[in-house]
């Protein structure tokens, strides 16, 4: 006698299995966030956020790391945004398929897949040593700019593509040139989508460790110029946790990171939705 499961039963079993597996994924995610916040939120006093780091991180706050993260991220965004948006504009508005388009897309796709430790190696040998910029905010920012470039290119490309063609035709019919149309019509319409890409780029930059630890270093001093070495929040957290310097401070730093990431994802989500509601 062979035992066969009927289609209805298999449908029910499959549904329950998929539901349980998806639920596990979601629970794991919320557990990670909840666990970090539960253990870290008590550390988040004004003093922790605004004090210098003392005794390698056992005492004091995380002000140098907050500033370091801020400066490196701003720097990376300032470089990557014009390059990324420019690339996307060229891809959508100036190429009609063909070799150039394929090679630019291939570059962006491959760059998106490059692991952060490779960016760390590259930034170290190219910016820190060959260009002699040393371990600095500048080297770290440039390395991260290269790293987040594909995110910004891809998101901007989608955003610019979504702007209806009629907008461009109306602009041309009013006598606008190609550049005028792009600057005055296409880019403003695509702005929320482009901003989503920039914000996702900020998220990647803030959470990055391997690419910045070998380019910006791990100095705990307050950064004074773009040539200062600095230690970002993620790097500080890594050192606190791995070397077992201070668990409470590690949880506190992790909580700050998680809160920033949550805020960034929330903003990106809202912006994207407003954009989608407008054009799709």
């Amino acid at each position: 006698m062979t035992f066969r499961i009927g289609p209805r039963t298999s449908q029910i079993i499959a549904y329950i299995t998929l539901l349980v597996m998806t639920a596990i994924t979601v629970i794991v995610l919320f557990f990670i966030i909840f666990y970090i916040l539960k253990n870290g939120i008590g550390q988040l006093t004004l003093e922790f956020l605004t004090d210098r780091t003392r005794d390698m991180g056992r005492e004091g706050g995380i002000l140098p790391s907050i500033l370091g993260t801020l400066f490196i991220t701003i720097f990376a965004i300032l470089i990557a945004t014009p390059l990324g948006v420019g690339s996307a504009v060229y891809l959508v508005e100036y190429t009609k398929g063909g070799f150039i388009r394929r090679i630019i897309s291939f570059g962006a796709d491959c760059l998106a897949g490059v692991p952060s430790i490779i960016f760390g190696l590259f930034g170290f040998i190219f910016f820190v040593i060959t260009m002699n910029l040393g371990w600095s905010i500048l080297s770290g920012g440039l390395t991260l700019a290269v790293m987040i470039l594909p995110t910004i290119i891809r998101t901007s490309e989608e955003a610019i593509k979504a702007v209806p063609y009629t907008y461009r035709e109306i602009s041309y019919s009013l006598g606008g040139g190609k550049l005028d149309t792009i600057v005055r019509v296409v880019l403003p319409s695509a702005l929320p989508g482009i901003l989503t890409g920039v914000i996702l780029g900020i998220g990647r930059a803030v959470g990055e460790t391997a690419a910045v630890i070998f380019t910006a270093g791990s100095s705990l001093g307050l950064p004074t110029s773009i040539f200062s070495s600095t230690r970002t929040l993620a790097v500080h957290f890594y050192i606190l946790a791995r070397e077992g310097i201070s668990m409470p401070k590690a949880y506190g730093t992790a909580a700050v990171l998680i809160i920033i990431i949550l805020a960034i994802n929330f903003i990106a989500y809202r912006l994207m939705h407003r954009f989608i509601a407008r054009y799709y």
Binding site: P7, S10, Q11, A14, Y15, L18, L19, M21, T22, T25, V26, L29, I32, I33, Y35, I36, L83, G86, S87, Y90, Y94, I100, I104, G107, C110, L111, G113, V114, P115, S116, I117, I118, F119, L121, F122, I125, F126, V146, L149, K178, L179, G203, V206, G207, E208, T209, A210, I213, F214, A234, F237, Y238, A241, R242, A254, L257, I261, L262, N265, Y269
Partner: protein, 277 residues
């Protein structure tokens, strides 16, 4: 005139990604490849890693990277596919709209946070239940599996959604249940997209560094079981780059070159598969 200049400038900017990729390729290889020939292939693919005393064998790390990657796929593929199928076929649009950003949030969590969760929860748990040091292939596989989930889910989800509606309707009209439709119609139709997602997830797992360093134990030998400590190519680079000099540093770039070749190879396969349609 203005338009011509703008076009030239934009073309120049548009090459920034491919230019960066070329610079990365050039500098990593230029630093690493000569060492491979200097040491000799026999030495380079041996088990003896003593880079300050002429031992440049990366075999145990290559095996280590492969083991944690296969482990990550064993965790990531079933959960990733389940998530994608559930989202695309078994949930209402409200659930889709809530779950999709939640899974994207998982992609945004920094790798150091995953590593930390590994240290404080997963490693003690494995030590308690299965014995051994806890810092192990198993711990790294589970954490990496979670980390590559969002990649597999979102690419497979897009692939499933891209299957024409008529395929589903045809299947239902023949009396198939939803699950039968998924297995017999949708998964085969979305196969190339799903494979591309898995390959990209594989690339993420093999390239992940900080989370692996924190939980894999980093012992320099080929692990005998999944409860043993393991060291990957990426961990070696990150652990030793801070103090390496001369041939030692070159050897780390050689590790980077091998890693880079693997990643580019995986990316080219993934792009090929996606563009075939």
């Amino acid at each position: 005139m203005k338009d011509k200049i703008a076009e030239k400038l934009l073309l120049f900017i548009a090459f920034s990604a491919i230019l960066s990729l070329s610079l990365i390729t050039f500098f990593i290889f230029q630093q690493g490849i000569p060492l491979i020939f200097k040491a000799g292939l026999g030495n380079f693919f041996s088990l003896r890693w003593a880079p300050t005393r002429g031992g440049f064998g990366i075999l145990s790390m290559v095996v280590g990277s492969l083991m944690v990657t296969i482990g990550a796929l064993a965790v990531g593929i079933p959960f990733g596919l389940a998530g994608a199928i559930f989202l695309a076929e078994f949930s209402s649009s409200t659930i889709q709209k809530t779950l999709k950003p939640v899974i994207e949030l998982l992609a945004g969590i920094p790798s150091v946070v995953f590593g930390f969760i590994g240290i404080v929860i997963l490693v003690p748990f494995i030590r308690e239940i299965f014995g051994g040091p806890g810092f192990s292939v198993l711990a790294a596989s589970i954490i990496l599996g979670i980390m590559i989930l969002p990649t597999i889910v979102s690419i497979s989800y897009d692939a499933l959604l891209a299957v024409p509606k008529t395929y589903r309707e045809g299947s239902y009209a023949l009396g198939a249940t939803k699950w039968q439709t998924v297995v017999m119609v949708l998964l085969p139709a979305a196969r190339s997209g799903i494979v591309a997602g898995i390959i990209l997830g594989m690339g993420r797992a093999i390239g992940e560094t900080m989370a692996v360093i924190m939980i894999a134990g980093n012992a320099l030998k080929i692990p005998g079981s999944i409860l043993d400590s393991v060291r990957t190519l990426t961990s070696t680079i990150a652990l030793e780059l801070g103090y390496a000099a001369g041939d030692h540093r070159a050897a780390l770039f050689a590790c980077g070159s091998i890693l880079f070749l693997i990643i580019i190879f995986l990316n080219i396969i993934a792009t090929r598969i996606t563009n075939r349609k």
